[in-house]
């Protein structure tokens, strides 16, 4: 099977989503190897997906969580048994404290990834079978299943176990490891 540039452009999105049959996948890969223009299309599209898929792109206005929480509180039916009231009071106070800290962090912002994200990534890694063989690259931060279109071939991929990858600080690729991740 041979494909031309137009066919590659038509399928590049499906290809990156793993939605093309194996024959077409090989044909696309063969074409892209020899075609500079399509390489630039594929690389750019992959880059777009990676950038926008980053948690850092999900920004909310300052104080959003607090205002949302307040709005919910105002609208909850008051059906809470008296025995639980102290506990509720505690919960609200604690949640408010978390929110205050959260917004302070937002103000400090921009420099570092927020801690909740780091913990989220770590948690996500836990669902991957530790002995599964995965692919990592030199300057990447993610580990992948073999054949994942998000592996950058030119960055010298290496195959190790998932637990080794985690130890080395790699986190699972959401595209190919999706089924192992306790994604929300």
């Amino acid at each position: 099977m041979v494909v031309n540039c137009e066919e590659v452009w038509r399928e590049v999105s499906n290809y990156l989503d793993g939605e093309v049959h194996p024959g077409l996948r090989l044909a696309i890969e063969a074409h892209v190897r020899d075609c500079q223009r399509c390489t630039a299309v594929l690389d750019g599209t992959r880059n777009v997906i990676q950038l926008y898929g980053d948690e850092r792109m999900l920004e909310v206005p300052l104080g959003f969580g607090q205002r949302l929480h307040r709005r919910i509180e105002q609208n909850l039916p008051s059906s809470i048994p008296p025995s639980r009231r102290t506990f509720l009071g505690w919960m609200v106070a604690a949640a408010a404290a978390v929110l205050v800290v959260g917004s302070l962090e937002l103000v400090r912002a921009s420099s570092a990834r927020r801690p909740e994200q780091r913990s989220e990534l770590a948690r996500r890694g836990s669902g991957v079978p530790p002995n599964m063989m995965v692919v990592v690259t030199e300057d990447g931060k993610l580990f992948h299943r073999a054949g994942c279109p998000f592996i950058h071939e030119r960055n010298r991929p290496r195959t190790i176990t998932a637990s080794e990858a985690s130890r080395e600080g790699y986190t699972p690729c959401i595209r190919c490891m999706g089924k192992y991740l306790a994604d929300a």
Binding site: S13, L51, Y52, M57, A94, P115, K141, A184
Partner: protein, 227 residues
């Protein structure tokens, strides 16, 4: 990490989106522990906002719609069916609320919503000799996130919705189709178009956008506006 310290003191344990905890939380909210509802939606509040913003492109409206959507989810929590993901259900409610708001806004200014049908013609990506990778680390910078948001806001509505649900909210193709009430084939067509347009918009070399010197809006060569 001060947030973590506080979290440790919480008797109920902090819910972080684990699906098993989630099923239990939903049950408890249904059983009358309404105060747990905020715990349930907290991991998703940023996604709810992002969804509303993608459709409305206005911070104040997006925040209001996000709140409305969350309240609606609370009101209808008994209708939630466990075979769907809670996050997907919540996003779907948000999409509906946001679309309603948009329709209302358009009705007020007596203007029909002009959602263009899918473009049947094939899209030709711009020809660059090479793609200069924009590394994820640059997302630490405010102005880079801003540029990305601007590029996204420049896409047509139908492309933006699909792209946000699929590539930012990470819904599956099926879930995206269901949330938007369109076919999976349409999701794929629009997604392809959205991704390629963004790729062309973000292509390095556009005024040296990624070198940090350039402060203007995204610029385009004459006649290359892809939408």
């Amino acid at each position: 990490m001060p947030g973590r310290v506080i979290a440790l003191k919480r008797p109920a344990g902090q819910f972080d989106g684990d699906p098993r905890d989630e099923v239990m939380l939903i049950q408890r909210v249904r059983d009358g522990e309404h105060e747990l509802f905020y715990e349930l939606i907290r991991p998703y509040e940023r996604r709810v906002y992002a969804t509303a913003f993608a459709i409305l492109r206005n911070e104040a409206d997006a925040e209001d719609v996000a709140q409305e959507a969350v309240l609606k989810a609370f009101k209808h929590i008994r209708q939630f069916r466990a075979e769907a993901r809670f996050s997907t259900w919540l996003i779907q409610i948000t999409v509906n609320e946001a679309r309603m708001r948009r329709r209302k806004a358009h009705a007020n200014i007596m203007e029909p919503i002009a959602d263009r049908p899918d473009d049947e013609g094939n899209y030709t990506p711009r020809d660059f000799a090479d793609w200069r990778e924009i590394p994820s680390e640059t997302l630490e910078r405010n102005e880079i996130r801003q540029k990305l948001a601007e590029a996204l806001a420049g896409l047509g509505q139908i492309y933006r919705e699909v792209f946000v649900l699929r590539d930012m909210q990470r819904l599956s193709i099926d879930e995206t189709a269901r949330a938007l009430g369109i076919s999976t084939a349409s999701v794929k067509t629009r997604l392809l178009r959205a991704r390629l347009m963004l790729r062309d918009l973000l292509a390095p070399g556009l005024g040296g956008a990624w070198c940090g010197k350039w402060g203007g809006r995204l610029s385009f060569e004459k006649g290359t506006k892809p939408w």
